[in-house]
Amino acid sequence: MRVWLGWLALVLVLSVGLAQQRTLTVSGFGLNQNLIDKNITRPFEARCNCKIVWEVGNNADRLAKLAARKDNPNVDVALLGDYFAQLAANQGLLERLDTSKLSNLNELYDFAKNPLGGNFAVAFTTYAISIAYRTDKITTPITSWRDLWRPELKGRIALPNITTTQGPPVVWLVNRAFGGTDTNVNPGFERLSALKANVVTYYNQSAQLAGLFAQEEVWAAPVGRFAWGNLLATGKPLAWARLSEGQAGVSNVAVLVKGSRNQELAYQFIDFIISREVQTAQANDLVDSPVNRNVRVSADKAAQLTYGLQQIASLRTVDPDYIIKVRDAWIQRWNREVAR
């Protein structure tokens, strides 16, 4: 009997000990996860005496999962592209943030503090979308979206598929470059349809695009700045186009999932990733461009990032509400007219 009680006591002690090791589940992108683990996961775990479990995938997949688990969420914090976060907010999947719990919030650029309105999100990075291209193969620099239609690029470019996060912003930008408006996207779609001969394929992940550059399949492609580090790692001579139409900016935001059972930890995590220390480390590894005003990086690094108030102010932000409204129709139209 006494032995039995002893075992019971041991089990109780162990389970209390395990319960103290809290777990925070974060839904993230997966790109550069090894660097994210170095800059965020391990330092945060050391600080909070907790464990971070990452659930990774692209925005669309992860949003679908959040919606499917609405009544019994398994994710505490989600990192999403801004218009996907807006979709999540519209579907009632997000908690409004109590910004008084974010001590680093005041160090952020103003646009990053409440990018969706309603305090549903805090931006932790913003990135420009432009065209990356091979400087050895394309000797006349690319300076406009219209340059993608050059005949010498026949079979040499890749476009982000419409279902990716960059897909709709690229359609929006091309449409504007060819004189379309938000209510008339025919110019954009007509020109994209005529671009078929130049397009090798429509990529679904930026990691896939790095492979296409590495294997000499592709010489030029519209892409988000966050992928630049991976593209440079291919060892090919690449340049980032300075487009006369200006660059478009998309932000990635952190949100608190409604029904999260680890809210205190979730706030600490969000506060941590917008801190000067983490934002500097992420910038130096070319993972994410910083939105914390106090981050300082070398001129050399700055040239590889979307960095500094001046550059950020020059970005044309794509309105998340507009993208949400048109996205399904654009996917249908793209399937039919462009990727065919």
């Binding site: 669309a60 679908a64 294997q215 000499e216 996917i331 990727a339 065919r340």
Partner: protein, 279 residues
């Protein structure tokens, strides 16, 4: 009679864990899926199906899936009949090794295998490089991200299934039937069509069904080797379920996939029965 029923009861008891598992984790979801595909607002009807097939893009995807899968099934049958025959002629000591080599591709991850094809079929890949160096081509062929890349990838993926089914069917072929047919004056063609084919029909049906079903439902190969330009039912299904969250269309696609594979299995069986009767 009485002595039989306890044995029967025992059989049912032994079967019940498997039956329960299949019922809960397979049959129920399939029924739910079937119902979902007919769900229109508050009622049930064919509207989801009509809407799906009214769209010429969806019809194109369906036909593409059908013809690529049928072509892969046909070509693998044509290639595997002589190969299976040859495998059986090999010294039994080596046969184990050969069969092992045939199974090897099935043991590698489909993602790794497909990425290898990306390198092989690419513009700067082995195929194009050797064709250009031997002077057969001036310009690299565009294979990657076309229907042919999907065909090649699926053929490599599915051929072992056909080969193994045919090898095991031929192993059961009585040793004397081929010499007997020859001694009765049958030509090589007659030996194949009137003797070997009818007697190995089960292998062809099994192999054909596995290959065809595998092709219709394959996701990684069309997604990576074909891309958005070569949308197949499986990749369209993913887009509907995972991206646009259109579960009605996703359910329709699943049911269409299921019915198509059942139909092809039925046709293969019918064909097999006919050749069996003819023999």
């Amino acid at each position: 009679m009485l002595s039989q029923s306890p044995a029967r009861l025992a059989a049912w008891i032994l079967l019940s864990p498997a039956l329960l598992f299949v019922a809960v984790f397979f049959l129920l979801p399939v029924v739910a899926l079937l119902l979902e595909s007919f769900h229109v607002g508050q009622t049930y009807g064919l509207n989801n199906y009509l809407a799906f097939f009214a769209d010429d893009f969806n019809r194109e995807v369906y036909w593409r899936t059908l013809w690529i899968s049928l072509l892969v099934t046909l070509v693998s049958a044509l290639v595997c009949y002589p190969a299976a025959y040859a495998v059986l002629k090999i010294n039994p000591r080596w046969r184990g090794l050969i069969i092992g080599l045939i199974i090897l591709p099935l043991m590698t991850s489909p993602v790794a295998r497909t990425y290898t094809w990306l390198v092989v079929l690419g513009r700067e890949g082995i195929v194009n490089k050797s064709l250009i160096e031997t002077g057969l081509l001036q310009e690299p062929l565009r294979i990657l991200f076309t229907e042919w890349a999907v065909f090649i990838g699926l053929l490599q993926l599915m051929m072992p299934l056909m080969l193994l089914s045919l090898v095991s069917a031929m192993e059961n072929l009585p040793k004397d039937v081929v010499p007997a047919a020859r001694s009765l004056g049958a030509s090589e063609g007659q030996v194949f069509w009137r003797v070997i084919l009818p007697l190995t029909r089960e292998g062809l049906v099994v192999g054909g069904t596995l290959v065809f079903t595998g092709c219709v439902t394959a996701y990684v190969t069309p997604a990576l080797l074909g891309g958005p330009r070569v949308t197949m039912l499986a990749t369209l299904l993913y887009q509907k379920a995972g991206v646009t969250v259109d579960y009605a269309a996703a359910a329709v696609i699943s049911v269409v996939m299921l019915l198509t594979t059942l139909l092809v299995n039925f046709l293969l069986r019918g064909r097999a029965a006919k050749t069996a009767r003819a023999a």
